[in-house]
């Protein structure tokens, strides 16, 4: 009982931090708008300069929401993978899921210029790009699953994930070599990761994908907890392993694939946030971890985005670089502090 009250207080605090991060995020940008005016715009009141309200509603708020969805989605997918593969190193990147998405995107963007005849019917727009990236990540995830059912050794699985990554990189470089400069630039921009270009409609689509992923994860909480003991024990506790495994895999595919499709490959959030959350909440119970990683992921992503947009300057840094710069030291710090990575 005592514990659940502490958790509730934690969650309230986190939601407060999230709100503050959200407001700070939308008040900072290339155009400097005072916090007070930002609040006015959010509340729907008129602002001192008319364009401010337009900037906030059509540019900054969609971007902040994208950051929240991206952060939450990646963090949750990381948590699911770490538990499913019983491996603290698992994450959308390490197991090649993001590589799969990149391959899907590369085939569509770069392939359309090379195999123009074959791909003539495809249109490179955001929807088809999202679809291609999702299919790519899903296929890699499926391949990893097949391998995982044959290879019991998780180290081998990680190496296989890295190999998938190398293959993807290789295929992408072959495609780049033959494609036009314009298409290449389009792909490279996608691979930098970006959360600033989503319209309200696209945001709605991403929200739907992430929401389905979250609902599937919530229904898997019980099996995820049982999986902490290992598959044999989970089975002896009455968990339908086959069904749970597929639910978790599909949820991961939707979360990681959906995010990568819309925002490009974004590193480290998926790996770092679950570890950070476990340390802070000091629990392994997924009833606490699932909501906690969602909020932490969102907060971290908002902070990264705030830094990336370099307040008061016209430059925007690639978000992917910022998440790595922040995420990698976090993982290193955790390792040094604990001397081992337990999950």
């Amino acid at each position: 009982m005592q514990k659940s009250i502490t958790y509730r207080a934690y969650f309230l605090l986190l939601l407060l931090v999230l709100t503050v991060c959200f407001l700070v995020n939308i008040s900072l940008g290339s155009v400097s708008i005072p916090l007070e005016e930002t609040l006015n715009a959010v509340m729907g009141k008129s602002t001192e300069v008319d364009s401010w309200s337009y900037i906030i509603w059509n540019y900054r708020i969609p971007k902040a929401f994208t950051a929240i969805l991206v952060g939450s989605g990646l963090a949750l997918s990381g948590l699911l993978m770490q538990t499913l593969f019983r491996n603290p190193l698992a994450g959308p990147f390490v197991l090649g899921i993001s590589s799969g998405a990149s391959l899907g995107a590369a085939l569509l963007i770069l392939g359309s210029s090379i195999f123009s005849g074959f791909f003539a019917f495809t249109m490179v727009n955001d929807i088809s790009l999202a679809l291609a990236a999702s299919i790519g990540s899903f296929l890699v995830l499926l391949a990893v699953m097949v391998v995982a059912s044959k290879v019991k050794d998780t180290m081998a699985l990680l190496i296989i994930g890295l190999m998938f990554g190398s293959i993807t990189t290789a295929v992408v470089s072959v495609l780049s070599y033959f494609s036009t400069a314009e298409k290449l630039q389009q792909y490279i921009y996608w691979s930098f990761g970006s959360i600033g270009n989503l319209s309200w409609n696209q945001l709605l689509l991403l929200l739907t994908i992430i929401a389905i992923g979250i609902i599937m994860s919530i229904f898997s909480i019980k099996s995820l907890n049982a999986l902490l003991l290992g598959e044999s024990y989970a089975k002896s506790l009455g968990v339908n392993m086959k069904r749970s495994r597929y639910t978790i895999i599909i949820a991961t595919g939707l979360l990681a694939g959906g995010v990568t499709a819309f925002a490009g490959p974004i590193a480290f959030i998926g790996l770092a946030v679950p570890h950070l959350t476990r340390q802070i909440f000091n629990t392994t119970d997924h009833k606490v971890l699932v909501p906690a990683v969602l909020i932490y992921g969102a907060i971290l992503m908002l902070i990264c985005d705030t830094i990336a947009q370099m307040p008061n300057s016209a430059n925007v840094l690639p978000i992917n670089a910022i998440t790595s710069i922040i995420g990698a030291p976090v993982v290193i710090w955790l390792l040094i502090r604990k001397r081992k990575m337990i999950f």
Binding site: R86, I218, F219, I221, K222, N225, A226, L227, L228, L229, G230, S232, Y233, K235, S236, L237, G238, V239, N240, R278, T283, T284, D285, K287, I342, F343
Partner: protein, 229 residues
């Protein structure tokens, strides 16, 4: 076997003790033959049904050593909890009862990686006990433990079986301790197997052929093995 009895499966390495136990516990598919539980074939039970009939303690390490003792034992209540795993008052009572029987209340909030092998084994048994099943299967519960802790675990198993009227079946290499503590023993050999109370088995000289007689012989007077020098 009767309710409230403790039985050991003994046999040389690789004869299939663990395989038998894991098959009985539905952890792995059977190779051949029939297993029935309450007169219904094992495969006709749903895994949810089995989860409230059979609990297991396996040799494989648990996936996450970051679980606290309480969290781990609480997982034993999964077959009875709702879709998200909320513990009811009854669940909590069963959990504290299990911890009390295994004398691990003071370890409650420790993490599994902080425990010694003997403590962890007791926690795993408490988890199986919290699952509240008629049958508890344990695969080599005494490996890696010293003589004192081996005896302690087996005595605990015996008292659990007698007090709660549960049936406990485990594999072991500790034949001498098993002879002294178990109600029944199953001797598994490659071509035949014998089952009975330790005294009957000693009388039938069933232990004599367990190991090659030029290396180890069984002394039926003391119920122990001797190495031939």
């Amino acid at each position: 076997m009767f309710k409230g009895e403790v039985a050991a499966i003994v046999g040389i390495n690789g004869v299939g003790k663990s395989t038998l136990l894991r098959t009985l516990g539905n952890v792995q598919p059977k190779l051949s033959g029939n297993i029935t539980l309450n007169n219904i074939p094992l495969e006709h039970h749903s895994i949810q049904e089995l989860a409230s009939e059979i609990s297991v303690v396996l040799t494989e390490p648990i996936a996450s050593k970051n679980l606290t003792v309480l969290e781990l034992i609480s997982l034993g209540r999964q077959p009875y909890t709702n879709w998200i795993g909320t513990l009811t008052q009854e669940d909590k009572e069963k959990i504290s009862l299990a911890m009390e029987m295994l004398q691990i209340e003071e370890l409650k909030s420790k993490k599994c990686y902080e425990l010694s092998d003997g403590q962890l084994q007791r926690v795993m048994i408490a988890r199986a006990l919290a699952q509240d099943t008629q049958l508890i299967l344990l695969d080599e519960p005494t490996t890696h433990l010293d003589l004192y802790h081996k005896v302690q675990i087996l005595k605990l198993l015996k008292s659990i079986a007698h007090k709660t009227n549960k049936t406990i079946l485990f594999t072991t290499h500790e034949i001498e301790i098993a002879i002294q503590l178990c109600d029944k023993i199953l001797i598994l050999e490659s071509n035949r197997s014998t089952f009975g109370s330790p005294c009957e088995l000693i009388e039938k000289k069933s232990f004599e052929n367990l190991f090659p007689s030029n290396t180890i012989t069984f002394d039926s007077q003391t119920g122990s093995f001797r190495v031939n020098k």
